[in-house]
């Protein structure tokens, strides 16, 4: 009885491992772009993987200001966008006020959207892979 | 009771004896005892090589003994001492040894009027009691917790009724102890019997008992209460109704029980030394309402004044309305009367004494090696080497103070007002 139960446990764990890990993709030739912001300096983790074109295509984002937003008096200005300026121009790395600190701004922006849409990476290692190549795809596959 | 009317309440002050001279006369002078009326002072003295006697007001008894100890005045002013001659022991009263002597004599107790002198004796390795020299007919192989009735006509002890081999724990646990009154043991035996109390008329006896190693109860005339407790303390009789009252432990807390029924609706972390007021209308006990906090409870109501170390020496006023006791914190003793603590602490305090009209409380006190009388919180101006308990005159107007000052034993009668101020 006991042995059976342990066997079952091992089997289920293995199955779970296979299911969750099966999203590991084959190596891809596509170019990779990342959210490497000079303002961070040397970060503890590699910059987040972000293939701009592919992402937007997949996510069907057409308006730039979905991400490159402009805020005035705490309100998002609908028809303005800020792709001409760097994120760190508004989002200070260390000091948050009045805007979010840079890292938090990235995290919140990306993750909130991924959460809402229920697609895209939301855990640390998905955006900040140790081995850029393999995980970049993983990040993309998620779309 | 002792007739105090006949005492000298007029002589204001007299030096009864200068004890400084005693040391010249005798090579050895033990501590002094003062007679209740204050007219005499006595001490055990060595009169020669291995020869002892008792010196009263500077004069030694005619009789000498090989040994003397436990010199005490009875309430009637007669002076008793445990004495030994030729390896035999007895009690000498006012210098006259009892006719009968024993293997050993230990505790000596007096009836309230002092007429009967009772002693705990051993004869040929057997134990019992003697009243005025007359021993029990039956003696027992072991006896403890010697008790007497207030009239001194009855004596009792916890006795072993069957022999037990050394280390026979099973025999012991079968119950081989009981109480014996006037030499006659109760029929029923117990694992242990301890402190006993006689009814006021001396006809009944109550005792603490252990039925097994852990079942305790109170036994009255050999009949245990139906209730079993995890522990009990010494019982007393209600002086009017004859009911028996004892502290009992129920669960983790103590309360008072009367004839096997819980008497107080409150329980305490500790409860003991209960006393009845003279009219039996009230009962007081020393209690610990909280762990390590001591006070007095009257009819189950605890006082607010709390002492950390202990409370002792409770005494009701003659009218039963007031109560005095002694409390202790660290090294300091204080008097507490009717839940009010007197100002001033002392290194030692004896039992408080109420005046007959219940108005005044006086007490023997010691501070920094000097003793005095304190009345209603106010110390008497005189500091002495030693004082004895104060005695109020029957009308309460005067106080008899017995003291030793500069080696002189002095008897004073002071108006109560002089002490109260």
């Amino acid at each position: 009885m006991k042995r059976l139960r342990i066997g079952l446990l091992i089997g289920m764990t293995a199955l779970a491992w296979v299911m969750v890990s099966s999203s590991i993709p084959a190596y891809s030739q596509e170019d990779i772009t990342s959210l490497k912001d000079e303002a961070f300096g040397k970060g503890q983790r590699p910059p987040a993987v972000f293939v701009h074109e592919a992402h937007n295509e997949k996510a069907e984002i057409e308006d730039c200001n979905v991400c490159h937003h402009v805020y005035k008096n705490g309100e998002k200005v609908e028809d303005e966008s800020s792709e001409d300026s760097r994120c760190s121009d508004c989002h200070n790395v260390k000091k948050g006020y009045p805007t979010r600190p840079l890292m938090k701004a990235y995290h919140d922006l990306c993750k909130s959207c991924h959460q809402t849409k229920k697609v895209g990476p939301i855990t640390c290692g998905e955006c900040h892979p140790r081995k850029a190549a393999s995980s970049a795809h993983e990040a993309e596959e998620g779309h | 009771m002792v007739n105090m009317e006949s005492w000298d309440w007029d002589t204001q002050e007299k030096t009864v004896s200068d004890t400084n001279g005693w040391k010249d006369k005798f090579e050895w002078v033990e501590e002094f005892q003062a007679s209740p009326d204050g007219e005499k002072v006595a001490a055990i003295v060595k009169t020669g090589e291995a020869e002892f006697s008792v010196c009263v007001n500077g004069e030694a008894w005619e009789n000498t003994f090989d040994k003397c100890w436990y010199l005490r005045y009875g309430p009637d002013g007669r002076l008793s001492c445990i004495v030994s001659s030729e390896m035999e022991w007895t009690v000498a009263v006012d210098g006259q040894a009892w006719d009968q002597s024993f293997g050993y004599v230990m505790e000596v107790k007096f009836s309230e009027d002092g007429k009967n002198v009772c002693a705990f004796i051993q004869q040929d390795g057997m134990y019992g009691a003697a009243i005025n020299g007359e021993p029990w007919e039956n003696l027992y192989s072991n006896m403890t917790n010697f008790a007497i009735s207030s009239d001194g006509q009855h004596t009792a002890g916890s006795v072993q009724t069957e022999p037990m081999d050394e280390g026979d724990i099973f025999k012991f646990q079968s119950g081989i102890f009981t109480a014996a009154v006037d030499g006659k043991a109760w029929d029923k035996t117990f694992v242990n019997v301890w402190n006993k109390a006689f009814s006021p008329d001396g006809k009944r006896l109550a005792a603490e008992a252990r039925m097994t190693l852990y079942d305790y109860t109170i036994v009255v005339d050999g009949v245990p209460w139906s209730e079993i407790y995890s522990c009990v303390w010494e019982p007393i009789f209600n002086p009017k109704t004859g009911a028996v009252v004892a502290p009992v432990k129920v669960g983790a807390s103590w309360t008072l029980a009367q004839d096997g029924k819980t008497m107080w609706n409150r329980s305490f972390v500790q409860c003991w030394q209960q006393i009845f007021s003279p009219d039996a209308s009230r009962v007081a006990a020393v209690v610990a309402p909280k762990y390590g906090k001591w006070t007095v409870a009257i009819d189950g109501e605890a006082w607010h004044s709390i002492f950390d170390d202990m409370v002792s020496d409770m005494v009701f006023s003659p009218d039963g309305r007031r109560l005095a006791a002694v409390g202790k914190n660290d090294y300091d003793y204080s008097v507490i009367v009717d839940d009010t603590v007197w100002n001033g602490t002392y290194d030692m305090l004896w039992q408080p004494v109420f005046s007959p009209d219940s108005q005044n409380v006086a007490i023997r006190a010691e501070k920094q090696g000097r003793q005095t009388i304190v009345m209603n919180g106010k110390p008497w101006k005189q500091e002495c080497e030693q004082v004895w308990d104060p005695v109020f005159s029957p009308d309460g107007s005067k106080v008899l103070i017995r003291s030793i000052e500069g080696g002189r034993y002095i008897r004073r009668v002071l108006p109560t007002t002089e002490l109260t101020g």
Partner: protein
């Protein structure tokens, strides 16, 4: 994946923290209530000064005789406990989660340091396991539950380590890591891991008895 991750990261984490905090409070309050009721002396002899004096001598390595007698154990257990507490609390990834959820954050350890601390905790667990398996005086008082507790403690660190290094099956280890952490949190008040809650009190009580009553040292 979103659903599973959000479940362990959200509601389950809430459950775990509520059980941890609630359980801890419950155990503490229950202890105090039962002490009040049945062991009141504990309060009567409690001394803040001597309690802290005792704790002080036992949270400093080699400040008490037993720890000097067993230098290896002392080093391991101190390193283990420090890392066990510090690594999760000061981990960057954890602090980011706090920040994300509640907007609160604090100083964090460099990730490389946290990584080493994790290994120290895992090493400590292996050392404790080795003691339980080989040292007669420990083996004799070891029950199956002791291994389970050891596993409960080791699991979040092993899975966390694997997840952090993203070798194989990152998300699997990550989710398992979160689950393991939650299991451990819940286990703290309800297993012998409760020594985390109780030990300051037992130590302080013994310190009080030794200090203020016995006038002696308890280290």
């Amino acid at each position: 994946m979103h659903g599973l991750y959000n479940f362990v990261r959200g509601p389950l984490a809430w459950v775990a923290f509520i059980l941890f905090v609630g359980g801890t409070l419950y155990r503490l309050i229950a202890m105090l209530v039962i002490a009040r009721k049945k062991d009141n002396v504990v309060f009567d002899y409690f001394s803040l000064f001597y309690g802290l004096r005792s704790i002080f001598h036992w949270i400093i390595p080699f400040a008490n005789r037993n720890s000097r007698q067993r230098p290896i154990f002392t080093i391991v257990t101190f390193a283990f406990h420090i890392c066990l507490l510090a690594a999760p609390i000061l981990l960057l990834a954890h602090v980011l989660l706090w920040d994300e959820s509640f907007g609160i954050s604090w100083w964090t350890l460099p990730e490389g340091v946290a990584d080493i601390m994790t290994l120290i905790v895992i090493g400590g667990c292996i050392y404790f396991l080795w003691r339980r398996l080989t040292q007669p005086e420990v083996k004799f008082v070891t029950f199956a539950s002791d291994f389970v507790i050891l596993a409960i403690v080791a699991a979040p660190f092993i899975t966390g380590f694997l997840a952090y290094h993203q070798w194989l099956g990152y998300k699997f280890w990550l989710i398992l890591h979160i689950l393991a952490g939650e299991v451990m949190l819940v286990a703290i008040p309800f297993t012998r891991l409760a020594h985390m809650i109780y030990s300051p009190f037992t130590r302080a009580y013994m310190g009080s008895e030794f200090g203020s009553v016995r006038h002696a040292r308890d280290w």
